[in-house]
């Protein structure tokens, strides 16, 4: 188990966004989280990446309890993520966006920057090389100098992937990587995700595009109203009664 979440609960006032969810991410696999809108998927990601503190429950990464660790420390341990809206700096080039991804592996400070120390030069070079490496991996070397604002939605998603990869992660959380991307391009992103896993990474993703999930996911967890209602292989989930009801609307749902 790369990541293990035990009885995780997040309450926003009277709203139970995530309710008593126990979930594991297997190493080297593609783990998917699906569920209707408002099911608590993104909140669940925010809990794992550390942007939200859980109300109760624990999160363990590689056997270490990280429940109380701030988001930036979790990133250093090897948990990277992307956002539904990419959050990129649109008015800067792709390269300028991606360089900062490797910052967490460097240690030069304000004084190194002003005095242009050897350490700063070395680390800046390392960040640039890392950026080139990950841009090559996601297939964007040819647009490295382009402004992000002028890229297609799919290319922006790839930049976000590159940024996550530049942190040298072990686990990558992808929040709706194929949202707003056309079917042809979705296939390209599927290939990229598979390539990431083949390269030794573990992926956990939220996605609404069922064709994509059914094709590439090894395991699927289904959330509805913050609760886990099913878990298993794509086939198992597809034939699960509770899942069908959650998606098509059943009498059990108040």
């Amino acid at each position: 188990m790369l990541l293990h979440v035990e009885r995780l609960t997040k309450r926003f006032g009277g709203l139970l966004a995530v309710n008593d969810v126990t979930f594991s991410v297997e190493q080297g696999k593609i783990n998917a989280i699906i569920g209707p809108n408002g099911a608590g998927k993104s909140t669940f990601f925010n809990l794992i990446s550390g942007l939200h503190r859980p109300t109760s429950g624990t999160i363990a990464f590689k056997g270490r309890d990280i429940t109380r660790l701030p988001a930036n420390e979790r990133a250093k341990l090897g948990i990277a993520r992307t956002f539904q809206t990419t959050h990129l700096f649109e008015q800067a080039t792709v390269m300028d966006n991606v360089i900062i991804g490797h910052r967490l592996r460097t240690s030069s400070n304000l004084f190194d920057a002003i005095l242009r120390t050897k350490r700063h030069r070395r680390e800046e070079q390392a960040c640039k090389e890392k950026a080139m490496e990950v841009l090559d991996f996601v297939g964007l070397t040819h647009v490295a100098d382009r402004m992000v604002a002028n890229l297609s939605q799919e290319q922006k998603k790839r930049v976000a992937f590159a940024l996550a990869l530049a942190t040298d992660p072990e686990l990558v959380l992808l929040d709706e990587p194929a949202a707003g991307v056309n079917p042809d391009e979705t296939e390209g992103l599927e290939e990229l995700i598979v390539k990431m896993v083949k390269g030794g990474l573990t992926v956990c993703l939220i996605e609404h595009k069922m064709s994509m999930i059914m094709k590439i996911a090894d395991r699927i967890m289904v959330l509805n109203y913050g609760e886990k209602i099913a878990e298993g292989t794509p086939e198992e989930v597809q034939n699960n009664e509770a899942v069908i009801q959650a998606y098509l609307g059943g009498s059990t749902v108040a």
Partner: protein, 345 residues
């Protein structure tokens, strides 16, 4: 490379102009105005580092400016400290206060941060205004000495003071330049862009914001100390919100988050206010609408507007070969269709 050299040429011309200014313009009044503008610029660079590059609008900076100025005044006049020691102490003390203010203020975000720092600025103003025994209150503080000689260099004349302030300004711009084009600068910009993304990229946002805030306060206190030694009279007005909004206006007009912005904005606005002096406070009737229009149409100020225009052109030039190729292909295919149509006909 050509772009780089062009920029160097521009910088050389500007530096030459700045150096030659007191020789070309013998009117003492203009030299005085220019020196004061340089001091404002240093303060605006401070504001720019935090508001422009880190994304947090601090409205306490006029207060820090005043703390720098008053500390220098009090230490030289009341405590009788040697000038440069008092100068260093003024910057240091203000920076230290900045650390404590930052530790509390940075727990808030966005407009809450702006409101909080506005309050801090106002409290600083009130303290200066009411603490009569220390600051002289509304009567002000008189008799601050001019900068002391450094070896053979004397700063008693306005022209010498002009060059002294210019030296500090160049040092601040140089520091800013190095900072902006560094990993640390990129880190600040990443925080400005999206704090959530920065956090998940492993960046300690609190630590970086604090460092940026403190350096920004340092620049502003430096401007304050220079102001005290140049004007040699202090009133509580320099901590007032109107000074804060002057800084902000210079920054917004010149270009927030740009390196040239503080210089461009400060020069333009101080020059304009001089020209419109006969209108007195009615000047604001002109500045208000102009500023509003500028923010609507050029939210990144004059320097920001120029940078964006250049970037757009660059992008268009880069896309040009591709666009030409597509256009050519389209022409060929439509020609082909035309021929087929002709055959069918």
């Amino acid at each position: 490379m050509a772009v780089f050299e062009k920029r160097r040429l521009w910088l050389a011309v500007l530096a030459a102009l700045a150096l030659a200014f007191p020789l070309l313009v013998t009117n003492g009044y203009y030299v005085h105005m220019m020196t004061i503008s340089f001091i404002w610029m240093i303060a605006v660079y401070g504001l720019n580092l935090f508001a422009g590059y880190t994304g947090y609008l601090s409205l306490a900076h006029a207060g820090f400016f005043a703390i720098g100025a008053y500390t220098l005044g009090i230490l030289t006049v009341k405590a009788g400290w040697p000038f440069w020691l008092a100068f260093a102490a003024a910057c240091l003390l203000t920076t230290l206060i900045g650390v404590f203010v930052g530790l509390v203020a940075l727990r808030t975000k966005e407009h809450f941060f702006a409101i909080y720092t506005l309050c801090v600025g106002y409290i600083i103003y009130l303290i200066i205004d009411k603490w009569d025994s220390l600051t002289g209150g509304v009567r002000g503080f008189i008799g601050i000495p001019a900068p002391a000689d450094i070896g053979p260099l004397s700063f008693q004349t306005p022209v010498a003071q002009y060059y002294l302030v210019l030296c500090f300004l160049v040092a601040v711009i140089f520091t800013m330049y190095r900072l902006v084009y560094s990993l640390t600068g990129r880190t600040y910009i990443a925080i400005r862009n999206s704090e959530e993304l920065a956090l998940t990229l492993g960046i300690s946002t609190m630590k970086n914001k604090l460092a940026s805030f403190v350096l920004s306060v340092f620049f502003t206190s430096l401007a304050g100390a220079l102001y005290a030694s140049f004007i040699r009279f202090l009133g509580p007005d320099i901590a007032y919100v109107s000074v804060m909004f002057d800084f902000l206006t210079y920054l917004l007009v010149g270009g927030i988050g740009t390196l040239a912005g503080p210089v461009v904005g400060t020069l333009l606005i101080t020059f304009l206010s001089q020209q419109l002096q006969f209108l007195q406070d009615y000047r604001m009737l002109i500045f208000g609408p102009v500023l509003t229009l500028l923010i609507i149409f050029y939210p990144h100020g004059i320097a920001g507007g120029v940078i964006r225009l250049k970037a757009k052109r660059e992008e268009a030039r880069r896309l040009d070969p591709e666009a030409n190729r597509v256009a050519a292909e389209l022409a060929v295919s439509s020609q082909g269709r035309g021929e087929r149509h002709a055959e069918e006909g």
